[in-house]
Symmetry: C2
Subunit: 326 residues, 2 copies
């Protein structure tokens, strides 16, 4: 475990325990199967990044209303709902080292329990009494569903641009993290300037986390990652390391990369070759630099806040995007 | 066309035109495929029952804020979202005489466009500025997803009770229609008594519509219904006509019914036999009586309102549950 991870965990461990409890308490299903299926995805070792960011954002804005743990479950429910639907859509077999829920409980249950989790998130959101929060949730869901469809449509598209990639990850990942931070500011009745700052923090942290995720799919150890590396490539998802490497590739290199991308049954040797090419053609390094740029922007957005332990932890979480192993 | 349908259509035709336009205008997708898939289900000859009930409920409570058409789209979007997910879950091939969306655009798109439609409904709901409306939407979605799962779990369950059947149809159908009517009262800032009355109207009308739907699956003409009759039986869904007939069946009759229920490839002759038995054992008549009871209760709930054309149309719509052919 990295030092940074240790430092963050030490700072938030009490909150994490309370978030776990709230996630179980707020679920409130009437059918056993719903509780089981939701539990399969909810209690499988998620990092609780989104709830934590909401809680810390609220505190950074001086919130002391005592409901931050409760409200924070909104964002884990939304996240879990989209994981259920996306794993099904992507045909993913494994998530966090366990069988994906749709392969255990069936596609129908995964679809409907996803809907249920979305509804639970919304129901908790309505407890805030703030229509702006609802607007954010609606926007998140619109963006995530369309971002995922966009990603589906872009599969194996060798002409995918960096711009289009950014549009997809903004919708499918960044808006949720951005929304969690903004809602933290909103429940604290923070001034507009602070809400905007946390929104920028969340957006940039979200982009950095997704870019790092896309990197890990080529650079991580399968065991640490909790799923086989190369999943994106196997699904035909072109991410930034690949897009950038393709741009820099000469004719024969590009042909070789295209062959592996279009071959759904590429060999392990092919995969190793592919990763080598990503490195050689600068795709890995470029993605690290772009992610680092977003981490920097995220931390800069916090400049308007006075120094203190909450601000430090938020900055640490942004930094963590780039050092994590899974 | 029945006289009643004609009378209702004449009264609401201007609203229907405006609802169609609002459904197209409020959709606002960023991807063509989302617009197409949503359009496939949204513009396929739906009755717009839910938007109309919201509009009429608002007017009955004296609403004149001019936003009722806009708000009414919430309920058609929610309805379309659940149709997309439910048709996929049920493996239904046909809806309203057309191929079901998931068979045209694929399961993944159907799941994600369903999520998008839910989000659009929520987004329009937030325009009301009323947290109670959001609470209702969240409750509707929780109930519908769990009701559908409950229905899945109850497939081919020969011991399904009338009580459990009622619980399923309350969740999967009645709460949405009830919610549409309640929201009508809420946007009109109606007194609690009127909100309760419209809630009771919607609940009972919703139960009656679902019972009538379940009847039509045995008694309708396939062409008028827009899908093959017997779909429920083929899917192993036990509805009230069957539950009641099973209760009244003697040993050999029950065995014959059970055989057909458990045989997924029953013949047309089997189906005719089955319908005959439903009639002879009182399942059809009992369901008509129960539905008629709910229509009566729905209309009684309107007693607190002074007579007038809006109240008449709501009563006509409740009556229509039992005379419609599809």
């Amino acid at each position: 475990m990295t030092d940074l991870k240790w430092k963050i965990l030490a700072a938030v461990q009490d909150d994490l325990v309370r978030v776990e409890k709230a996630l179980a308490d707020n679920l409130d299903p009437y059918l056993d199967l719903v509780g089981k299926t939701a539990g399969h995805i909810l209690f499988s070792g998620g990092k609780r990044l989104r709830p934590l960011l909401m809680i810390l954002s609220a505190r950074l804005c001086g919130y002391n209303g005592g409901k931050e743990i409760d409200y924070s479950t909104i964002f884990e429910y939304l996240h879990a709902a989209t994981l259920l639907h996306d794993d099904l859509v992507d045909g993913a077999a494994v998530r966090r080292g366990r069988q994906a829920a749709h392969t255990v409980y069936g596609n129908s249950t995964a679809v409907l329990v996803g809907d249920f989790l979305l509804a639970r998130g919304l129901s908790i959101a309505s407890r805030t009494g703030k229509i702006e929060v609802i607007d954010i949730i609606a926007g998140i869901t619109e963006n995530m569903s369309q971002g995922e469809i966009h990603q589906l449509l872009a599969k194996q598209n060798l002409e995918l641009t960096e711009e289009e990639y950014l549009e997809v990850i903004r919708r499918k990942t960044a808006v949720l993290i951005q929304g969690a931070c903004r809602v933290g500011a909103l429940v604290a009745d923070a001034p507009a300037q602070e809400e905007r700052a946390l929104s920028a923090f969340g957006y940039n942290a979200g982009v950095a986390f997704q870019m790092a995720d896309d990197l890990l799919d080529y650079t991580a150890d399968s065991k640490e990652l909790g799923k086989k590396v190369g999943a994106d490539l196997r699904e035909g998802k072109l991410t930034l390391p690949v897009i950038h490497a393709l741009k820099n590739a000469s004719g024969p290199e590009r042909s070789e990369m295209e062959r592996i991308i279009l071959d759904k049954d590429f060999s392990e040797a092919d995969f190793d070759t592919f990763v080598e090419m990503l490195k050689r053609l600068g795709g890995i390094e470029y993605t690290i630099q772009r992610a680092a740029g977003h981490v920097r922007k995220a931390k800069q957005a916090l400049d308007i806040f006075v120094p203190g332990p909450v601000k430090d932890i938020l900055a640490d979480i942004a930094d963590y995007a780039l050092v994590r192993k899974h």
